[in-house]
Symmetry: C2
Subunit: 422 residues, 2 copies
């Protein structure tokens, strides 16, 4: 009984025409002991043991324009509130954590903005969840890549290719000596390209190449399916034919299905987070990636797509950098760090900035679509150009200088530095 | 080959400093055939078969203030765009539908606002998914309630009670002749109230009452768990002890876990949507309930919480009414309609307006917390007051008039009409 109580502590960015401290207190009350009715027995003592408490409140400058449209006049007051939930009130279940500390909060009246900006979990969570099965060391071992980023590409068009057509494209990029290839996340198992037919059309090329070179390209198969049993059948098809990786639409299948898969998986699990953007794109609403990624890391994501520098999407560079740093920081142990995957519009030109801004690490996957397959010298030249760009980045040599005696990089600069890539 | 092609059609509310029609075209391109590279063979024909197309664009008045904060000056142009995805491009998988037509869209650059406001699915979806197992007729049969709404209550405080304390509260409300009782959605299986202990403490009371009266209260147990196997163990505990309903935190467990449960479930599945609010609370961002509810109905929700009139939460009445109407409209068949559940701050006073605004139906659950248990005459009087309020609503008699010879209702009006309830 003398063991110190442990807490789950969340930080909320609260915005309101009223007093942020009142809303912070309301979160703590509503999301734990709530509307309280006196009942017999030890209830007061229990309340003390499970009630959440506001442990810090840091006022921020008010906003003139509210995050949720409001009929009321501003200013819209803001504060960061740290609220501590006794561990006993939640336990280690992630769905319980989501419902109690996050989900229910979004429905509370009186906010003109609400964003969950940080979460600190006690060690019990680290012991309760498996974390990545392969992570960074497993990805390096399976791809045989050391001393540089894993270089990957994506098969395009996203939708519409039949398996033999996809296989022809895959053959090209594998012969280009790329380390990793993935199905577009939108390609799962449509009638024109059922997963099993696609696997059967492509795996022989991968295995032949492995026989010849000793190196096996890691191919991330789109095994996601709503029904976890079907997803496991897809998983088994990939395993049976010698595959070693899957791309999972984590947000579309949800926590439960991912937990189910992870517990049974023999594959490296590459997470695509489509759908996540709407939860984070408005800076006053939703959730920071630093919070959301904790759930998925505990659940066992091995490789985590987080955009990159100068991407095609809405996300600004500093948001990518912050996501990268969140993934690179151990939650409880270095083994719970997945491999960050930088992608979208990448072609090598962003290598120096990626390297400098993410803490000079080579532990990442660098995923290029058009930056490899649309290289004027072909995909092989595209892969060499990307490797050269990373060599230059690590050596601290400007790309233009390094390109003087590296012609593939020179061609990439000429082709893509206007901002194209894919 | 002459069979007409079927389509999945979504409507997007697009907001941008640029041209909405360009962003509509970008959604259609990015989310189907995407970045297109010429490849050998039948690709053009396949592209024609899977490419999404903008089929209608309806301009709306521009906004002066953007939904996502923007450094650019307005006006912020808006349009509703209908985009048709060939059925073949998606298939019936709901995770594929979410990723292709919704999830990926949120990441596209150039929006100052993006909201999914409608979705029309072809009949193939109705055949592919189970829908509600019990729905409205099953709930009526199991509760034995006809000709009026199902009246329910929630055990409070949300967190902190041990099983014997919860059992004492449940005994009170069951003796009050309520039709339905639920665990607070935040109560799942914490150490101080493990589900099995709670079930064992409470089910005997429910079964005894059934023996005595022939009527069995429907109790919704908080069986949600991240791990679908654990959720099924929770399900089995409830079934083994004679329970017939579960409250599920659908957003916290996700599509896959819910599909897994539904396929194996012997319980009525009562959906709590905590977490959903952040996806719909900003009118220019996220998703309308009319879209989101389709996924969950196909997956098999039996009872769906959607707030109510004059709730404690942020949601305005018209949003509740619109959600109610969405649930009451068959997707493919009347059997796919779950029972709408009106709750939060209800005590009977909202019955007339609820009845009038939702199409004069009695097919709903009316869930009162404090409105029943805090009635000055006790929970039994609280239940009678709520029934009286619904009798008055159906007869078109003002509550104050009906209360003249219905003293429990009169007491409720005196106690709660200042807006209290729970």
């Amino acid at each position: 009984m003398t063991k110190a109580q442990s807490f789950v502590t969340l930080t909320y960015l609260i915005e309101t025409v009223g007093h942020p401290e009142k809303l912070a207190a309301k979160i703590a009350s509503d999301q734990s002991t709530g509307t309280f009715v006196a009942v017999p027995g030890e209830t007061e003592e229990l309340k003390n043991r499970v009630a959440a408490r506001v442990v810090a409140l840091r006022p921020l400058p008010p906003l003139a324009v509210p995050s949720f449209p409001s009929a009321e006049a501003g200013p819209f007051n803001r504060a960061e509130a740290d609220i501590a939930f006794p561990f006993e009130a939640i336990g280690t279940d992630l769905a319980a954590l989501m419902t109690i500390a996050i989900g229910g909060v979004y429905s509370i009246k009186g906010f003109t903005g609400i964003r969950i900006i940080d979460m600190k979990l006690p060690e019990e969570f680290g012991r309760a969840w498996p974390g990545p099965q392969f992570g960074i060391p497993g990805t390096r071992r399976l791809t045989g890549v050391a001393g540089r980023p894993i270089i990957g590409t994506i098969i395009k068009p996203a939708l519409g290719l039949r398996p033999p057509e996809t296989a022809a494209l895959v053959k090209d990029v594998i012969e280009a000596d790329v380390d990793f290839v993935k199905d577009d996340e939108k390609l799962m198992s449509p009638v024109y390209s059922p997963l099993e037919a696609r696997v059967k059309a492509i795996m022989p090329t991968i295995l032949e190449r492995e026989q010849k070179t000793g190196r096996k390209v890691m191919y991330a198969w789109g095994i996601s399916a709503t029904d976890p049993d079907e997803m496991m059948r897809n998983h088994d098809i990939v395993v049976k034919h010698g595959g070693n990786c899957a791309v999972i639409n984590i947000n579309s299948i949800g926590f439960g299905a991912f937990a189910f898969l992870r517990r049974r998986s023999a594959l490296v699990l590459h997470a695509h987070r489509n759908g996540w953007d709407i939860l984070t794109r408005h800076p006053g609403l939703g959730m920071d990636f630093r919070v959301w990624q904790q759930f998925w890391r505990l659940l066992g994501v091995d490789q985590f797509q987080i955009n990159g520098i100068r991407v095609k999407y809405w996300e600004p560079d500093e948001s990518f950098v912050s996501s990268f740093k969140a993934l690179a920081a151990p939650l409880f142990d270095a083994k719970d760090c997945p491999l960050p995957v930088a992608g979208s519009g990448q072609w090598g030109g962003q290598a120096p900035e990626t390297y400098e801004k993410t803490g000079r690490t080579l532990d990442l996957m660098y995923l290029c679509g058009g930056g490899i397959v649309s290289h004027p010298g072909g995909a092989g030249a595209g892969v060499r150009a990307v490797r050269q760009a990373w060599e230059a980045a690590v050596a601290g040599i400007p790309l233009e200088t390094y390109a003087k005696d590296h012609k593939e990089l020179a061609q990439s600069i000429a082709t893509f530095s206007g901002g194209k890539g894919a």
